[in-house]
């Protein structure tokens, strides 16, 4: 968690503990803190404060966005269009809609949704919603949200944008009907998600009636965590003005230098329209698990979409949808403040680790 957010959280545990719906002094203080956090986050995402509600996680925000919109528009249509590379929570939420017909929109080899596919899909009518992420969580490619929103113009079809990857790291898309995000991703505390619903959107809560967060999120609101999340987002937004360009340059070095030093390694995702801090590559003849263990020993915490690493037997649906090599997959995500010297060291150690893993599999000469 960001130090500023941590300090805020500790202070707010005392100052924001009371029930904001009451009238006594401490309650009014809670209300002011919550209102301030809501206004701050609304300004950053380009929303009105009354459009922003606080969920208990990014996943809960996505679940409610998808199921509530499907419910609100069930008389209009039952087709739920989602990109094939959405975060699993979006796809699972769509599949959970009773009588919903989930259709996955294909992507190109960089994991980018082709706007023409959207045009073709909506032409057949009866669409309840379209869900497209702001940027892909595994390979970092930005999705063409404004182009897609333009295609939806006048159709009345609501667009859910899962901006979990972008908020605090990249520009937030301006065109959406519902925007979701997770405070944990921008260095805020866990337990805070954003569910922003544009006024006029036909969203209906799929949950039992509850007065909290304008009837959108059930249960007592986690004001201290929310206040800390707002502070963290403001910090992240201020920081990225200078940090994004620096991280982009560092990831660009990884993108260009690693494939030169490692045979049969492919960098995945869009080269330019991408998040500044993520690099993903797939390397042939490498077992992802051994790779992660060796990198962990060198002090690098990275992740992988390979099936041999995940508990599931199937590889990442994102890599499959892109038609990418799924084994030997490595996702490097640079935190704000990542040191150039660490990037240098990574570029230095990865080729020898890959060579070692390949040798152990008898694939060193391929």
């Amino acid at each position: 968690m960001r130090p500023g957010a941590r300090q805020t959280l500790l202070a707010a545990l005392d100052q924001g503990y009371a029930d904001p719906s009451r009238r006594y002094h401490a309650a009014r203080q809670s209300r002011r803190l919550l209102d301030g956090a809501r206004e701050s986050i609304a300004a950053i995402i380009g929303a009105r404060p009354d459009e922003v509600s606080f969920a208990t996680s990014g996943t809960q925000a996505v679940h409610l966005a998808v199921t509530g919109l499907a419910q609100g528009r069930q008389r209009i249509g039952r087709r739920l269009l989602v990109s094939a590379v959405e975060h699993s929570c979006v796809i699972h939420a769509a599949r959970a809609v009773p009588e919903g017909k989930v259709e996955e929109l294909p992507v190109d080899s960089r994991a980018v949704v082709e706007p023409e596919r959207v045009r073709a899909a909506i032409a057949r009518g009866e669409v309840a919603l379209l869900a497209i992420q702001s940027a892909n969580h595994e390979v970092g490619s930005r999705q063409p949200i404004s182009e897609i929103a333009h295609i939806l113009d006048n159709s009345g079809i609501p667009l859910i944008v899962d901006a979990a990857q972008s908020l605090g790291r990249d520009d937030c898309p301006a065109q959406w009907s519902i925007l979701t995000a997770s405070a944990h991703k921008w260095g805020g505390p866990t337990g805070v998600g954003i569910l922003a619903i544009r006024n006029g959107t036909r969203w209906r809560s799929p949950l039992p009636d509850d007065p909290h967060e304008s009837g959108r999120i059930p249960g007592f609101t986690a004001i201290p965590q929310i206040v800390a999340a707002a502070v963290a987002l403001q910090e992240a937004e201020d920081e990225r003005r200078t940090e994004s360009a620096r991280l982009f340059a560092l990831t660009e070095r990884l993108r260009t230098e690693l494939p030169v030093r490692i045979p049969d390694a492919l960098v995945l995702g869009h080269g330019i329209e991408r998040l500044p801090h993520i690099v993903t590559l797939s390397m042939a003849y490498v077992a992802g698990e051994a790779l992660l263990e060796d990198l962990d020993r060198e002090g690098f915490a990275v992740s992988s979409g390979s099936s041999c690493v995940a508990d599931a037997l199937v590889p990442s649906h994102v890599l499959v949808a892109m038609g990418a090599l799924t084994h030997g997959n490595l996702r490097i995500s640079l935190p704000p403040g990542a040191l150039e010297s660490d990037v240098d060291r990574f570029i230095h150690v990865l080729p020898s680790i890959v060579a070692k893993v390949r040798d152990s599999l008898g694939a060193g000469d391929l």
Binding site: P315, L325, T326, H327, G328, L361, A363, D365, L366
Partner: protein, 88 residues
């Protein structure tokens, strides 16, 4: 095998998991560069990885599909888009 495909070499990797089927395919292709290789695999990752490997190594995936005996998938990998591809 119930398939009737024009292959030169068959590599049966059923029962082995990623990345072994791709390694076995690459090994077979390295040993016999001119051969058309039939790879059999039941690792779910192979369905994505074999076409991706072929694209990377500019090999031609002539055919991919069920082996017909309910035991995994077959991938017919040729050096180039030659005449044998048109038989299918």
């Amino acid at each position: 095998m119930t398939l009737h495909l024009p292959y030169d070499v068959v590599v049966d990797e059923r029962g082995s998991m990623c990345p072994m089927p791709v390694i076995a395919l690459a090994r077979a292709v390295k040993q016999s560069p001119e051969a058309t290789v039939l790879l059999l695999a039941d690792d779910p990752a192979a369905i994505s990885d074999i076409p991706a490997w072929c694209a990377m190594r500019t090999r031609v995936l002539v055919w991919a599909g069920d082996t017909g005996d309910g035991r995994g998938h077959g991938f017919l990998v040729a050096p180039t888009q030659d005449d044998r591809a048109h038989i299918l």
